[in-house]
């Protein structure tokens, strides 16, 4: 602000600097790391030949996600759960929960089979998981499953640490176990809520 204006409006604190919340700063840091890793991955992918297996895997997940979103958008008769649960929101469809279960189960399997020793492969796979996780996080938000979206969002910092190329194998193993455990807990809660719903309907 120029001196004259600054002096005239000093009491209004027009040039006051507002602190950005720390979680935002963390997100901005993460977004640069992620963009940098994506660049590396794209370069690696360009060097590799087309993989039929990964194409079908991606297509299957995308199709499942599309069905999940469509169900969330079009199904209006949303059954209510008998008892609230920390991960479960009452006004969403059981079909969406099932699609989410498939995603969590696949993610758990991928995490369990994650190569710990070879950093490049691990980074590539974890970045794929992060991308899928983000899509499902958006789908959860679409389906008013805010708690579920929040839990999926909470996975991302751990996944980003796991994707780091300079992480020690023992640390990667600890993170992998931690993620596998959290995924299992979440999956169990979702399965429990879906089965309760099936019994009550």
């Amino acid at each position: 602000m120029n001196d004259e204006t600054n002096k005239e409006f000093a009491a209004l604190n027009l040039d006051r600097e507002i602190k950005a919340p720390s979680h935002l700063k963390q997100r901005w840091h993460d977004s640069i790391d992620l963009a940098a890793r994506q660049e590396v991955r794209e370069q690696q992918q360009a060097a590799r030949s087309f993989s039929v297996g990964s194409f079908f895997w991606g297509a299957a997940i995308t199709a499942a996600l599309a069905i999940g979103i469509a169900i969330g958008v079009f199904v209006t008769d949303k059954p209510e759960l008998a008892e609230p649960d920390s991960y479960v929101v009452q006004d969403r469809s059981a079909a969406f929960d099932r699609v989410m279960q498939v995603h969590l189960r696949d993610t758990r399997n991928d995490i369990a089979n994650l190569p710990i020793e070879t950093a490049a492969d691990r980074t590539t796979l974890v970045l794929q998981i992060i991308q899928q996780n983000r899509l499902f996080e958006q789908a959860a938000e679409h389906n008013d499953a805010d708690n579920l979206a929040r839990v999926l969002r909470a996975f991302e910092p751990i996944l980003l640490q796991l994707a780091a190329s300079d992480i020690a194998p023992e640390d990667a193993e600890t993170l992998r176990d931690q993620l596998a455990f959290q995924l299992k807990v979440m999956l169990t809660k979702l399965e429990r809520s879906t089965s309760k719903e099936t019994t009550t309907t």
């Binding site: 409006f9 209004l12 040039d15 901005w28 840091h29 977004s31 790391d33 963009a35």
Partner: protein
């Protein structure tokens, strides 16, 4: 410190991290004052960072990385504001006050602080944006006019009205202080 080293080539990941740590409050402040909306301000900084990262090969080392990102963030904030409120920069022939604040604006006001928020609240969108760009961001009238798709006469008028309203607010503050 990374920034003081005389580096060659595009800015590195470490340099981006350093400016995020040291300068992102300034970017966020500027975007919040322009948009009066925390989500838009957050998105503007995020968009600016990714855009700067993707275009880092175009960065001129004679400039400062943080001011380069700052400018991109302000542009992003203006773009997001225009997208969220089409016609927001249309000029008015008469003097109007800003509309009643939305819940999101009230939340943003909490961060802006009492005096600043109340001062900005009295301005219309075009007055606020023109005043912030001219007096806080040091943009030239011509640049502001080009950015909001108007002419310098309209920009001058918007700034004139903004200053007038801020003076009224100042007088009220002085009365409150007595």
């Amino acid at each position: 410190m990374v920034a003081v080293l005389n580096r060659q080539g595009p800015p590195t990941q470490a340099e981006f991290h350093e400016v995020i740590s040291t300068r992102s409050d300034r970017w966020y402040s500027a975007c919040l004052k322009i948009t009066r909306n925390r989500d838009l301000a957050e998105d503007a900084v995020q968009d600016a960072l990714l855009s700067a990262w993707n275009k880092r090969h175009q960065f001129d080392r004679s400039a400062r990385l943080d001011t380069w990102i700052h400018r991109i963030a302000v542009n992003a904030a203006l773009q997001l504001l225009r997208k969220s409120k089409p016609g927001v920069f249309e000029a008015l022939d008469h003097d109007v006050e800003g509309p009643s604040p939305t819940p999101e604006q009230l939340r943003a006001d909490e961060e802006l602080g009492h005096n600043l928020a109340r001062a900005l609240h009295k301005l219309s969108e075009i007055e606020r944006v023109c005043f912030v760009l001219k007096h806080l961001e040091q943009w030239r009238l011509k640049e502001i006019a080009a950015e909001i798709g108007s002419n310098t006469g309209t920009v001058k008028q918007a700034i004139f009205r903004a200053v007038k309203k801020l003076r009224v607010r100042m007088a009220a503050l002085q009365r409150e202080a007595l």
